[in-house]
């Protein structure tokens, strides 16, 4: 199969994408939202027309709340981003926004997070990624224990993790580029997206490995067969399924992106990207890697 034959090309492409993603991380940096660094977001909705942004900004400066970001949103709303606010500061802010009661407004959304919560979230996210990875290596090594030849079952698990990291890194890269242009911020939902991609990527890879396992078992004498051919054959067989599945999942995700709630809009977009990359990598990265590992083994 062409994927196995030209595996080096596909592997290089993946490496380039990963390198680009890592570079974008250092070039653009990650904008973290208040979920991680702490801070407050206040969204107010004015009953009549909203006041001029400049006047508002001047009035708010006198509150001494540090740097404040005012963004107009929707028809009559403003989003105000600031450091985390105490009760008193919060009511002062609302008072100022309403020009001491002259403009009637309702508070649509208020979220204030202390910095310690953010640190905890970061820690949890990292531990979760590590735990999920370990659990999956163990599971794959166990599920593939009967096919430890010609490639040991641990290596299947290891390759699944490499694929997984590849997917996560590229998805983060896509996010960083997007966030640079659209001003997105890294939030809890983004962590959820990454962790979901983790799960989807692995289950996608597993389906293909499963096919390889089955074909290996049916091929009888392990030593006589060409491993690369079997992998290629397995890929051909699971190709349609991988695409059909990710296509239908992407259909729902796109519906969620286009018609869903604002809060999960970019979450859906990230998942769409992750789903796409996950499907790509299980076909164009995981299997070629498996063949490469086997070839390296044989040379020894």
């Amino acid at each position: 199969m062409f994927i196995v034959k030209y595996k080096k090309i596909f592997l290089s492409l993946s490496i380039v994408l990963v390198v680009l993603s890592i570079t974008s991380f250092f070039v653009f940096g990650v904008k973290t939202g208040i979920d991680f660094k702490g801070g407050a977001i206040t969204e107010v909705s004015y009953t009549d027309t909203r006041p001029d942004q400049e006047t508002l900004s001047k009035n708010l400066e006198s509150l001494n709340l540090g740097s404040i970001l005012i963004q107009p949103t929707g028809e009559n709303n403003y989003i105000i981003k600031s450091r985390d606010l105490s009760e008193a500061e919060h009511s002062l802010l609302l008072e100022t926004l309403s020009f001491n009661g002259q403009e009637s407004l309702t508070e649509a959304n208020f979220n204030s997070i202390g910095p310690s919560v953010g640190r905890e979230l970061t820690r949890k996210a990292i531990v979760a990624v590590i735990l999920v990875s370990l659990a999956i290596i163990l599971f794959i090594a166990f599920a593939f224990r009967k096919v430890s030849r010609p490639v040991s079952s641990w290596k299947y698990g290891f390759i699944a993790i490499v694929t997984l990291l590849h997917d996560v890194i590229i998805t983060v890269g896509v996010f960083i580029v997007l966030s640079n242009f659209y001003g997105l911020e890294l939030d809890t939902l983004f962590v959820v997206a990454i962790l979901t991609i983790l799960g989807l990527s692995v289950s996608d890879t597993i389906v293909i490995f499963d096919r390889i396992r089955e074909n290996l078992r049916n091929s009888g004498g392990i030593n006589k067969i060409n491993f690369g051919e079997i992998v290629g054959h397995s890929l051909e067989q699971s190709f349609a399924r991988s695409i059909a599945t990710s296509f239908s999942t992407i259909l729902v995700l796109l519906a969620l992106f286009l018609f869903g709630p604002v809060t999960t809009k970019y979450f859906a977009l990230m998942l769409t990207a992750g789903m796409f990359i996950g499907t790509y990598s299980s076909i164009f990265l995981a299997s070629p890697l498996l063949v490469l590992v086997e070839e390296k083994q044989n040379k020894k």
């Binding site: 949890k124 999920v132 959820v192 979901t196 989807l200 289950s203 699971s238 999942t249 604002v262």
Partner: protein, 453 residues
């Protein structure tokens, strides 16, 4: 043929029953909800704060003064106190949870308070943080200089507080407070019952002050200054201030909820306005319906007859999921709905795996009946393994999560399990029951997929 269709019919009837339950128990769908049986009223969808609007507060508890082995006990006590205070708001379904410190959760003992429908976060935090301070004071000894201040208009006012001195009796010695109505005036009063120490103290105070005033102070302000007529040995007192019934009720609640066992400080707070939540719910439902229709369309175009079966199986899957959300109950959030949508993808995947296998077996020259049963058993391993890995992810996420991640992991996890059922039981039964269409050319065409003829 009847024999073959029979199991499929049973599935359809059962699924119809579940769908009926979901419909009947949902006020937004069932127009006659108010008049329906009370059984159905017990199971509405539980919407999270981001969808229904409300306040989400995270407190940190300072347990440094508490012995290690008593931390969990005092956190539970703290939860009970806060819960009692929260219940005073009259909020429907408030949630007060302790988040224990551990390797997983991080170093701090936390208390999470969810108040659906409460958008005035300041009032809420004020009420939660407030500790009622009840004090009993006696008249200052005669000869204490009276402090009189004269304001600009020449009105003299007496400094009331200086006329009373503190006693040892405070709200600490309160056993319980009860709301009562005066038999003659019908005015609300708060009757207090002291504990043993309090009873003793109160008896001493009343004995020493017969004919004098005893002032009852709440939060530093006098609310009642009755004159003692006789010694009260049974530890019962009545406060008859100028209460409205609501005030009296709140006071009783606050007195009964007592002081906090450990000090708390607010870490983060979030309020979501009701309109925003409403919009999010509508958009979420809309996205789910459009997504579902797109998938069904794709399945039928690509997989033909099996595609229709997959669509039915998917509908059964969604119906069961919705019923489970109501029965368990699962609190639905935007993230939870996202988890549900991913689960729909996983459910489709199981069907796709089966159909692709069946197609292969057909192309290898098997009959439709054989291809169906072979396809099934071959696809099973892949379905099992990929689902286990999704379950591992969902479990770890649930174990870890902040409430947002938990909601996502829960719907995803339930979704994976239910999708196994819908693929193995529902899809299989339906595939078996349509084998009556025979082995003709048209039948084979209907079973193939994609661009193949």
């Amino acid at each position: 043929m009847v024999k073959k269709i029979f199991p499929a019919l049973i599935i359809l009837i059962l699924a119809g029953g579940v769908a009926f339950f979901v419909f009947k128990s949902e006020p937004r769908l069932n127009k006659n909800f108010e008049t329906s049986h009370s059984f159905f009223k017990k199971f509405p969808f539980h919407l999270g704060l981001d969808l229904s609007g409300g306040s989400h507060l995270v407190y940190e508890a300072d347990v440094s003064a508490v012995a290690d082995d008593q931390v969990s006990e005092s956190m539970d006590a703290l939860r009970d106190v806060i819960e009692r205070r929260v219940n005073l708001f009259g909020v429907s379904e408030p949630v007060v949870q302790v988040q224990k410190s551990s390797f997983v959760e991080g170093g701090d003992e936390k208390l999470i308070v969810d108040l659906p429908g409460v958008t005035d976060v300041e009032k809420a935090t004020a009420m939660i943080g407030q500790t009622p301070l009840l004090q009993f004071k006696t008249e200052a000894p005669a000869g204490t200089p009276q402090e009189v201040t004269v304001d600009e208009n020449g009105n003299a006012s007496l400094n009331f507080s200086a006329q009373f001195v503190d006693t040892d009796l405070t709200g600490r010695y309160l056993k319980r407070a009860v709301l009562e109505f005066d038999a003659t005036t019908r005015e609300p009063t708060v009757s207090l019952q002291f504990d043993d120490t309090g009873t003793k103290l109160f008896a001493e105070i009343t004995k020493a002050n017969i004919g004098k005033m005893v002032a009852i102070y709440l939060d530093g302000a006098p609310i009642s200054t009755p004159v003692v007529r006789e010694e009260i040995p049974n530890g019962q007192a009545v406060i008859s201030g100028d209460f409205t019934p609501t005030e009296a009720k709140q006071l009783v609640g606050r007195l009964n909820s007592g002081a906090l066992p450990v000090p708390i400080s607010l870490l983060s707070k979030q309020t979501i306005g009701a309109t925003l939540g409403d919009k999010a719910t509508k958009a979420g439902v809309q996205a789910a319906i459009i997504g579902f229709l797109l998938i069904v369309l794709f399945l039928i175009i690509w997989y033909r007859l099996p595609g229709i079966i997959a669509a039915i199986s998917l509908t059964v899957f969604i119906t069961i999921m919705l019923a489970l959300f109501k029965l368990i109950p699962v609190t639905l959030t935007a993230a939870g709905i996202a988890g549900f949508i991913i689960a729909i993808g996983i459910a489709v995947d199981a069907n796709v795996l089966i159909f692709e296998r069946i197609k292969e077996e057909l192309q290898a020259g098997r009959t439709i009946t054989d291809a169906t049963s072979f396809g099934f058993s071959r696809a099973w391993l892949s379905i099992r393994d990929s689902n286990i890995s999704s379950l591992i992810t969902a479990t770890i996420l649930f174990w870890f999560g902040t409430s947002l991640i938990k909601g996502f992991a829960l719907t995803l996890g339930i979704g994976v399990i239910v999708s196994l059922f819908s693929a193995i039981v529902v899809t299989r039964i339906f595939l078996k029951s349509i084998s009556f269409i025979g082995e003709g050319k048209i039948a084979r065409f209907l079973f193939l997929s994609g661009l193949s003829k």
